[in-house]
Amino acid sequence: MVTYQVQDVSPDMSFLEMLDLLNEDLTLKNEEPIAFDHDCREGICGMCGVVINGAAHGRSSSPVPTTTCQLHMRSFSDGATIDVEPWRAGAFPVIKDLVVDRTAFDRIIQAGGFISANTGAAPDAHAAPVSKIMADRAFDAATCIGCGACVAACPNGSAMLFTSAKITHLAMLPQGQPERFSRVKSMVAQHDAEGFGGCTNIGECSAVCPKEIPLDVISQLNRDLVASLFKRDGK
């Protein structure tokens, strides 16, 4: 644990701009800057994410949930000491400082988080209508940005919200049906193989999710997983 003092922080700065300021200062002092992940800085790419004062992505003064890049310094009081930690989960090994390895998420998607539709083989987009209710539910689940806050917040280090958001997204659509039950089996198996913990319905994941993925996507996964046991698809 290292404590740094940061001067000239304006309330309009984002949290990451405060870290930029600190890193500029450390560089000028010939000290090693702090490594942290970030890219789009508009809350959509999912690359940034640290635990701030015990909360994944921190607690914003605005009621809208945020990613770390959309947290502004006006959410803190002047002179406050802020605790910053990397995501902590067995399946997210720390690479350096605040940077963790989240490639386990990519491997869960590789296990079946897709619809097998080769380029050029698609029927007309209107060939399979989707009711608005189902399309909207698919969309709500599909807004996941894969940041990993759900895992960091979960006392079990479970990635169930991430996994079931993809399961729900694809299970709501007619295009997702042929692989629906093999998908849920293989994605859950990969989730466990990566070392993520089991879900005990605590709900911290959904509470910190910057995209407000609802907790009931996990119920959808559980329903599909149980149903899949009676199907011959997948293993």
């Binding site: 508009e42 502004h72 539709a117 380029t119 698609a122 987009a125 997204h169």
Partner: protein, 585 residues
């Protein structure tokens, strides 16, 4: 410096022509080209390899499609996952000539609108092909499970977008880019699982390896270990985005820093139209010196918001609600009464700059000026009611409130233009091959489809068109000539590329300067924005201004001052000559 001749800074090269587009009417060029292109039989594809740099819509879609086709693909990105590419940040939508609205839309109309919107500077053969494949993109994305907005009947919804009179834009709330990118990412991960694509994350490309006249590989730096490595293939594809970050502040991702395109250019790939930068009028203004990037808000805000600045400079620091109606200058409504606040993007941007240059900008002082104008919804709230305004713009108001800490329902928003998209890029022929044999360039990284101005909802269309449908049908013409001579890290071209990269890094690390890298980026970006940004004059474009003395003496990377300026003017395809080149096509 003041007596420098412009030609000291660039050389005029030979004229270049696209030799790949077949003769005949424009409507038949793409099908003719697909038929005439040489093929690679499926059994031979697995003996061939392709390097793709970038995993956005253009790179990710190409990697997935070429993997499906059976090639060995090596795909690189600098982020921790291919799903982070900045295509994800696009909000609005994607155009397609589906004519689902029965409103006279057609391939020809999409082609016509795009060419006209681009001020007739786009390459028409490429744009026609883009319009032709646009409908396939929507089919493909729906098949992948992209949750586009739908109507109650279950069919896809459309909206209309700037510059056109038909409804051809498909969208997924305000996150269309995210949903399309996740679709491409999932297709890509499927190929990673199938073993056809090898994914290398946290790698940045630092050099192209050109051996015996062909692009045969790249040099990367592993961003975790720092290892410099070389990679080889039969062809190389750059899908590495635009160069908006040369202006320092832009709406681009922080890591999208044009290194790959720049290295390819230095290796001999021509750069076309680098002066064509799209400046978006409704971005959230700069709050201070420490700002790292800008955020765009949808242009639709101008439908109901009224733009104004105080008439008198001494009112600029007042609470806007205390400024009476007669002391406000609704300058767009005054200067352009027919269009009002809905003037085209470039005019809205330029006038905002003019107002601030006159000293009538609002908001905090950054440097010596206030850079912002008001976008006021009080009239719309009085007319429509707060709920109606919230239902139209609620998510944008929330975003604004989160970033600025101000409530736009009560005080006027402040906006200022920002660099958003770059139409220019590496020159490509009809097959998307650059002027280096075997080096392909797709998506925003190339220069061909948007002319001098890109229409809304066309960037996503071009990225996916190039990645899914164009490149997989043209690169085979080149790969049919493969396998080329064996190459590995002992080839002189590879040794030389590795040496050059290492030397460049060593030189920078040995400088032992007293300024940070970011401070140079900021200063040079400021020069670009002031002199090559929204407005350019002959005097401002003079090398004396651009080659700022302090920047030229830079201690960390002395050549950087020169670097931007060469990017601007040294290339035969540069904007200044675009009219002549256009005639040559």
């Amino acid at each position: 410096m003041s007596t420098a001749n412009p030609t000291d800074f660039f050389v005029v090269g030979d004229e270049i022509h696209d030799t790949k587009a077949p003769a005949g009417p424009i409507e038949q060029k793409w099908s003719t080209r697909k038929f005439e292109a040489k093929l690679v039989n499926p059994a031979n594809r697995r003996k061939l390899s392709v390097i793709i740099v970038g995993t956005g819509l253009a790179g990710g879609a190409a990697a997935a499609s070429l993997g499906e086709a059976g090639y060995n693909v090596l795909n690189f990105c600098y982020q921790d996952s291919p799903r982070r590419a900045h295509s994800i940040a696009a909000q609005g939508g994607i155009n397609a000539a589906k004519n689902y609205r029965n409103d006279n839309d057609s391939v020809h109309r999409l082609f016509y609108d795009t060419v006209k919107g681009g001020d007739y500077r786009a390459r028409e053969t490429n744009v026609h092909r883009l319009a032709e494949v646009s409908a396939n993109i929507i089919d493909q994305c729906v098949a992948q499970g992209v949750p586009f907005a739908r109507e109650y009947g279950g069919l896809l919804d459309n909206r209309s977008f700037g510059g056109v009179q038909v409804q051809r834009t498909f969208y997924a709330r305000g996150q269309t880019g995210q949903q399309l990118l996740i679709g491409a990412y999932q297709a890509l991960e499927r190929q990673v699982a199938a073993g056809t694509v090898a994914m290398y994350n946290r790698h940045e490309m630092l050099e192209v390896i050109v051996a015996d006249g062909r692009a045969r590989g790249i040099v990367t730096r592993n961003m975790v270990t720092g290892a410099i490595e070389s990679w080889f293939a039969d062809a190389v594809v750059l899908a590495t985005g635009g160069y908006g970050n040369v202006f320092f502040l832009s709406t681009n991702a922080m890591g999208c820093n044009v290194t790959a395109n720049w290295r390819a250019h230095r290796k001999g790939a021509y750069f076309g139209n680098p002066c064509y930068t799209q400046i978006h009028p409704t971005c959230i203004p700069v709050h201070g010196e420490s700002q790292s990037k800008l955020t765009l808000m949808s242009e639709s805000l101008r439908n109901d918001g009224r733009i104004w600045v105080p008439k008198r400079a001494e009112d600029c620091d007042k609470d806007p609600r205390q400024i009476s109606e007669e002391d406000r200058d609704y300058y767009l409504e005054r200067i352009y009464p027919a269009f009002g606040n809905l003037v085209p993007r470039d005019i809205a941007s330029r006038q905002a700059k003019n107002m601030c240059d006159e000293g009538r900008g609002v908001g905090p002082k950054v440097g010596d000026a206030r850079r912002g104008v008001y976008l006021d919804f009080s009239e719309a709230i009085n007319r429509l009611g707060r709920d109606a305004v919230a239902s139209r713009y609620g998510n944008l108001f929330d975003m604004y409130a989160q970033i600025t800490g101000e409530n736009p329902y009560e005080t006027p928003m402040r906006i200022y233009p920002a660099v958003h998209y770059t139409m220019g890029g590496l020159w490509v022929d009809y097959d998307l091959m650059s002027s280096i044999t075997g080096l392909y360039v797709t998506g925003q990284a190339n220069f061909s489809d948007h002319g001098a101005n890109r229409l809304g909802a066309s960037a996503l269309m071009q990225g996916l068109a190039d990645g899914y449908f164009v490149l997989p049908n043209t690169i085979n013409d080149y790969l049919a000539g493969a396998p080329f001579d064996k190459i590995d890290e002992t080839h002189p071209a590879a040794v030389e590329a590795m040496r050059v990269v290492q030397e460049r890094i060593d030189r920078l690390l040995a400088v032992d300067g007293d300024r940070t890298v970011d401070s140079f980026h900021k200063e040079l970006g400021h020069i670009m924005w002031e002199y090559c940004g929204m407005e350019r004059t002959e005097q401002g474009s003079h090398p004396r201004h651009r080659c700022h003395p302090q920047a030229a003496r830079g201690v960390l990377e002395p050549r950087q001052g020169q670097r931007h300026e060469r990017g601007l003017q040294s290339d035969p395809g540069a904007g200044r000559t675009s009219r002549r080149l256009h005639g040559a096509w």
